[in-house]
Symmetry: C2
Subunit: 344 residues, 2 copies
DNA sequence: TTGTAGGCGTTATCAT
DNA sequence: ATGATAACGCCTACAA
């Protein structure tokens, strides 16, 4: 853009109208006389005129941009949520702007700031735990926002769209218990810093406790989400002699890695060990064997969040918070435990 | 932002300086006297002042934003390239803005337009095939750009960063041929509309031809990239009675789906059929069995593109085009063919 | 239906 | 080292 892109003024000159008219031709064509409109649009086309977003934003005080603060985009399910956000926003003429906190467990205030600098009309925040200063800034500026992957009411009065990870944990526990399993292992993200992992863990243990079973410390591994991490975790469990007939994996990447490692160690799934994952991702049916998982409404979160904000920006003040359902999808990777079938 | 975010002027008033000084305190603090600087920054902090990007862009004629036109982000390797782009750009203080062409095979001019509207300082384009009007617009405005996932010289004088998909195809062919395979099947993206899929296909066939082997029409399937698509393709190949001892999958998603389907049909990999994928993605080592693939420098493409543009924007005029190396990674999914071992 | 003109919040140039 | 003041390109009342 260094030299000089054609401006409204040039288009106006070429079309023989005023700049105001050109502006209208572009944003509210229905206000113009048929003839003027076509003439102006022809000129626009001829010059390859493109509207200057910054100038527009400055003058109109809106950017038609929504910002989202999302940590760990790389290897996670959030990408799917974003797809949902994107899709709906796009349909309404909004653009999505992403910001990653530098360090996942750090404050997201800097990330919010970069979004605010860019003039986002509203903000999406992932999770329920955020710096109070962040909410304060949002409040002062009256920027609409919504939490996603979080539930309202959890001691927070913020609009939120998500599902119950604790319930998801219980679903998994109940399923395995019902099959007859009593000895478990679990690989999950660090429960200290990841509220969703923590909830799933708590729910799972809750379920075990109700039948008097438990999850020994030695059968728990906390690690980052990833294929290799899942495989390494299984290696570690086996190395330390953990005994279990059912393995719960905190997300789908971990599960895939774990399945590969189990196969390498000669453990047959589900004959020797049942495996369950969270998040029924697109490839869960195509692992070997097909993976029993909890289906999360991941994309729906994004869609709902987007449409809430869009309506909010239209002036609609309705309450936002939504709890979406989770559901267990049983596939080939789980079955009843075979007594003493664990290879050593 | 509806009510009114604090402005430079308010900060200036609070700090008892002029707006110019506040501006400098934020962008070139070293020009200010120590005392003034701290006083101003305190005021900034106190008011929770955030710079107004649109106004800055308008006045400075730069946005520190790079745009990228990328089709089919959903299920593809481009995501990794973007991570590379992102990382490097971020380190240099740039922000990445993405635009998807509405329809993958449509012109990317509208996508470019949305980027231009937002005032991107430079543009990344995926692939070598683009509307001439698009290049024209870039030229007129003197917006720097670079093609990625494309090679320079292919009848195009555009700066480009990518690798040789044709060579990748040959690597796969040579590997299988060397193992003794002579009967092949291939699942790939539509070669009509996907130049990369086409190149890989051509390279593969080239390799076969050189030893007098061939790829019968009935042993070829073109489909979109995806797990299910890979599985369905295998079903189709088997249903139509295709006979092959080696299966080549155009990308990693297809390969994973194919492996699952082969297992379902009782075909053991690699005992009954060798399988090769393109793109050595993170999970390739964790499929069952671990997948032989071509390793593409996917993330490097993004990194190189980013650093080229950054330097270019600094005024560096050096030639950009880079051909990155591809490499075959042999794992457990390929072996010598066992005569007549194909289950029916 | 169309033209006119006053901002929008910064940056950058010139003085001082 | 700091202040004053034109742009920057468009939108949007308001007027005609």
């Amino acid at each position: 853009m260094t030299p000089r892109a054609p401006s409204l003024e040039e288009v106006a000159a070429l079309a023989g109208v005023s700049t105001g008219t050109v502006s209208r031709a572009l944003s509210r064509p229905e206000l113009l006389a048929e003839g003027t409109r076509t003439r102006v649009l022809a000129a626009v086309d001829r010059l390859g005129y493109v509207r200057h977003g910054a100038a527009r934003a400055l003058a109109s005080r809106r950017t038609r941009t929504i910002g989202a603060v999302i940590p760990r985009l790389g290897a996670s399910m959030f990408a799917t949520t974003i797809r949902g956000l994107q899709r709906v926003l796009e349909a309404d003429g909004y653009t999505l702007l992403l910001a990653h906190p530098a360090d996942p467990s750090a404050s997201s205030l800097p990330a919010l700031t970069t979004l605010l600098e860019r003039g986002v009309d509203a903000v999406v925040l992932l999770g329920r735990t955020h710096d109070p200063a962040l909410f304060e800034r949002l409040r002062v500026r009256q920027v609409p926002y919504v939490l996603i992957w979080a539930l309202a009411g959890e001691a927070s009065a913020h609009p939120a769209i998500g599902f119950d990870n604790r319930r998801a944990g219980r679903l998994v526990g109940d399923h395995l218990v019902a099959l007859g399993h009593r000895r478990f292992a679990m690989i999950s993200a660090p429960t200290q810093e990841n509220e969703r992992a923590r909830d799933r863990f708590l729910g799972f243990v809750e379920s075990l406790t109700s039948v008097g079973a438990q999850l020994p410390e030695a059968a728990r591994i906390e690690t980052q989400y990833g294929y290799r991490e899942g495989a390494d975790a299984v290696d570690a469990l086996i190395a330390r002699g953990a005994e279990f007939t059912a393995l719960v994996c905190g997300n789908d990447y971990l599960a895939v890695g774990a399945l590969a490692a189990l196969a390498r160690h000669g453990w047959r799934v589900p004959h020797d060990v049942s495996v369950v994952g969270f998040n029924d991702s697109e490839f869960a049916p195509y692992t070997i064997p097909a993976l029993t998982t909890v289906r999360f409404p991941i994309e729906a979160i994004g869609e709902r969040a987007a449409s809430y904000l869009v309506e909010r920006l239209r002036g609609d003040e309705r309450i936002a918070s939504v709890e979406l359902p989770v559901e267990l999808v049983v596939r080939d990777s789980t079955t009843t435990p075979r007594r003493g079938s664990l290879p050593r």
